[in-house]
């Protein structure tokens, strides 16, 4: 089942752990945002293959609710 992982908080993109084609399992950390000098990890909600990554490391001022990673 396709999953679109959205950013939960606004902030800067600290790390992106996945690229298109990667296989991920539910609970894997996909990317980490930085807000309030705190790392906010975002995880996959289901098993699948990453089909698209819409954020990049170092990107600043990403809004909450932005589709960041798509899993097919």
């Amino acid at each position: 089942m396709a999953e679109r992982v959205e950013t939960m908080v606004p902030g800067n993109v600290w790390k992106v752990m996945v690229k298109p084609g990667d296989k991920v399992s539910s609970g894997d950390v996909l990317f980490i945002l930085e807000v309030m000098k705190t790392e906010v990890p975002h995880t996959a909600g289901a098993d699948g293959t990453v089909t698209a990554v819409h954020i990049a490391e170092g990107q600043e001022g990403v809004d909450a609710g932005t589709v960041a990673v798509e899993i097919g």
Partner: protein
Amino acid sequence: MLEVVQPGLETSIQDYPGRIGFWNQGFPPSGPMDSWSFRLANLLVGNEAGTAGLECQYMGPTLKFRRDGVIAVTGADMQPKLDGQPIPMWESVAVKAGQTLALGPAKLGTRAYIAIAGGIDTPEWLGSRSTFHKAGVGGMEGRALKPGQVVPVAAGKGKAGRKVKPEARPAFATDKRWTIEVVPGPNDDWIDKAGHERFLATDWKLSAKSDRTGFRLDGPQWTFTEKATNKAPEHGAEPSNIIDQGYPLGAINLAGQTPIILVNDGPSMGGFICPYTVPSAAFWKLGQSKPGEVYRFKSVSVDEAQELRKRLKALCTPSSIV
């Protein structure tokens, strides 16, 4: 009593006005960043306006109630749900033992407040229950809430269905732009005329490297008067260095070329100049803005700042509740 199932990003116990009277010894007031929304939440559940409640930042918590009570959620829109059913904000709601309150990510605004009839009953530290993370004091074990903690709540009688009058609520920016009042000083004479004009004409962007200690702003370079550039060496090497001084709460502290607004958990002294100060009545806007949003500063007099504070205080009274 309520149990922390999920703590959210950083949820902490705060009271208003917080830990007052220890600034000279380095202890900031702490307390809710948006004290307007916070005080209204307490009034909705029949508490004194300053009673200890929860501040939820960016992502709200999931809490399970261990006894019946009355709660209110105000501030940022975190789409609160009780046992999966949406509940209104800015209104008191009855909860039953065993029910679960879940708040999500902040849609509009940044900080939501949860008040509970009776108030949170953790021990006071220096006269306040407010959490001051940096020193690890107040709140629950001096830190943000953690999963599995049980938060004590005093007995109280609230009434469900009480609402905040629409005109008594803060209006959060929907276009990502905020006008923030500032009072010039204490070190405004270190900035030249062009520097002042630039400060007041610039769209300053709030950095993600902002927390309850300081709000960092991205914008243009500053220019200085001779006071900053031609001074005794003990002031320090940078134009913005000054012999260590006390900082006012809300100071726009110029660290090199980066302005940082010193907020509720900020430092009380240091060696940088503070050309402007944000008055307390504008703090709620800082508390509800997100990284990447824009501030425009508007210079006001001390009298005007005090007038704004009085007006806000008048709104944070039972007359705003119906």
